[in-house]
């Protein structure tokens, strides 16, 4: 069946809207994740969303609610236990390993559809109901509003925590609030690409964007654009192929954009358009 046929179907329309929303929120927080060096926090939060989802599946047959609770618990743990970056990473590693083990244990007690479990890990965008689309819109609005309020102090605290502190930015509070926003975004993204592949929307587009500009607004806009291209593009490719999961294409497109940007960097640099060396000012 053709792509145009699918695009007339409500399940495909819902999926496109959902993927777009997820991409916008992931692309928005991505630059902050990269600047704060919080890629591992994203990964840890996503993996433990898996544990939460497994628990949610077992207890209430509701993986999304479970994933959301799981990731929020983890965000709180990371925010309160890990102060310094190195300490934070080891705390994430410790909690991550235990949480994954727990998730596997929980799944072994689950006797429903096996695909439910793999969907948590690798994503399942099709089958999003109109009610879920409304929920995703709500989550996206919350994330957008939170970042709009946090933007300036979060940027300051991310690039220069010491001076931000001296200027009265509540750096600790801002950091914990950001982790909550991150947890919500990651849980949402996991519905599309799965907990294992969240980084393809939350890191890769931002990492590519930062190689093209150093203007904060431009970086954010590019990051969102790349994420939307990857998410919706991956979805359309999946509809066209009929057999391969959307998350596969999402990660491929996302990675492709990143590689392309690095190649552009190489070409630009070899042409000698790097900033000319200036005399000491």
């Amino acid at each position: 069946m053709s792509l145009s046929y699918y695009l007339g179907q409500s399940f495909a329309q819902h999926a496109l809207i959902a993927a777009g929303l997820v991409a916008i929120t992931s692309g928005l927080i991505g630059p902050f994740v990269v600047t704060r060096g919080a890629a591992f926090a994203v990964h840890g939060t996503a993996e433990l969303a898996f544990t939460g989802a497994a628990a949610g599946l077992l207890v209430a047959n509701n993986p999304i609610a479970g994933a959301l609770i799981g990731s929020l618990v983890v965000a709180t743990a990371i925010g309160t236990l890990g102060g310094r970056a190195r300490e934070r990473d080891s705390v994430i590693g410790v909690v991550l390993a235990f949480g994954l083990g727990l998730g596997v244990l929980l799944l072994s007690y689950y006797h429903g559809f096996a695909t439910e479990a793999t969907n948590i890990l690798f994503g399942q965008i099709f089958g999003v109901s109109s009610g879920q689309v409304v929920l995703l819109v709500g989550i996206a609005l919350v994330v957008l509003a939170a970042i709009a309020v946090l933007y300036r102090p979060l940027l300051f605290a991310s690039v220069d925590p010491e001076v931000a502190d001296a200027r009265g930015v509540p750096t600790r509070l801002v950091g914990v609030l950001f982790l909550f926003v991150l947890a919500i975004t990651v849980t949402e993204a996991a519905q599309i690409v799965g907990t294992l592949l969240v980084l393809s929307l939350a890191i890769t587009p931002a990492a590519a964007a930062q190689r093209l500009s150093s203007r904060p607004a431009v970086v954010t806009a590019l990051s969102i654009t790349f994420a939307v291209i990857a998410a919706d593009g991956g979805l359309l490719a999946s509809l066209e192929s009929n057999t391969v999961k959307a998350s596969v294409f999402v990660t491929f497109i996302s990675f492709g954009i990143y590689v392309l940007v690095r190649l552009i960097n190489l070409v630009v640099r070899s042409r000698g358009t790097r900033r000319q060396s200036r005399p000491y000012a």
Partner: protein, 296 residues
């Protein structure tokens, strides 16, 4: 500001303790508008803690502290802060211009919107430190000296009445040391901004210094360089034999139990975050390092 003769910084029997350890005790000091006070002393003598107190980040154990007539509080707009040059990640998504703007409104909630007035103020600050050429370049690609100029511009965005500088010259080469001190000096002359300048090398700022606050082991001395940087005064302060030497217009402090190797003009490799055991007794220019060796 002619009517503004109140001390900008007022410390009265200020004592700071961390647990059982006394950082400094009964510190009494008034800093006048436009005054340049250098804060010297060995590592761990509480120089940075003093700045933290004035920033409202380290409350006194006892005594009084006021900045512009009020107890210090976090985020005060009357205080500007310039830290050490530390270097930024190369791929930090920020231009010099964005970095300077953070000094104006980075602490406020919300998203920065394009604003002509703000842009003009940022541009003015950038030009006043001579950074217009590279203000649109990625912050992470600038040299240490360029980044430090932008830090000065950033600290002036809030139009501070007090400028707190914590080793702002560290790891800068001689040219940039002079450029950055000249900028700070110009600011205090134009706007009567008081400057508290923490450093372990007094020589680069010696021509600008009105008074020196010397902290050692909880004790302190205050006065003009001629009053404080004498063998007798520092011997008294350290409680051990100290010699202050004048060599080619530089002042070198030699002495203490571990001073056998500290000859006049010898380089010393102290870094403020090194261990705290050895007193930082040599206040000299760093030996024979090449002028560019310490710059990125």
């Amino acid at each position: 500001m002619a009517d503004d003769n109140e001390p900008r910084i007022h410390l009265d029997h200020a004592t700071l303790r961390f647990g059982a350890r006394t950082i400094w005790a009964d510190l009494t000091l008034d800093v006048a508008p436009g005054e340049f006070v250098a804060v010297l002393g060995p590592n761990g003598s509480g120089k940075t803690s003093l700045l933290k107190t004035l920033l409202g980040l380290a409350p006194l154990t006892s005594g009084t502290v006021e900045v512009c007539g009020r107890p210090p509080h976090k985020g005060s707009s009357v205080v500007g802060y310039i830290p050490q040059q530390k270097g930024f990640d190369r791929d930090i998504p920020l231009r010099g211009r964005d970095f300077v703007r953070l000094g104006l409104d980075g602490h406020r909630w919300g998203t920065p919107l394009p604003n002509k007035k703000v842009a003009a103020a940022v541009q003015h600050a950038i030009e006043s430190v001579g950074a217009a050429d590279y203000a649109d370049a990625p912050l992470g690609l600038l040299s240490g000296g360029e980044q430090q100029r932008l830090r000065v511009a950033q600290s002036l965005m809030g139009d501070p009445k007090v400028l707190l500088c914590d080793e702002p010259l560290l790891s800068l080469d001689l040219n940039h040391q002079q450029a950055v001190t000249a900028l700070i000096d110009a600011r205090r002359k134009q706007s009567q901004t008081s400057v508290l300048f923490v450093t372990h090398e007094v020589n680069p700022v010696l021509p600008l210094v009105d008074r020196i606050l010397y902290l050692v082991d909880g004790r302190w001395a205050i006065g003009t360089p001629d009053e404080v940087l004498t063998s007798a005064r520092l011997t008294d302060l350290y409680g051990t034999e100290i010699d202050v030497l004048h060599v080619r217009g530089r002042i070198i402090v030699v002495g203490g139990p571990e001073s056998a190797h500290a000859e006049p003009g010898a380089s010393h490799h102290h870094h403020p975050h090194d261990d705290d055991h050895e007193p930082d007794l040599v206040i000299g220019r760093r030996g024979r390092r090449s002028p560019h060796s310490s710059d990125h």
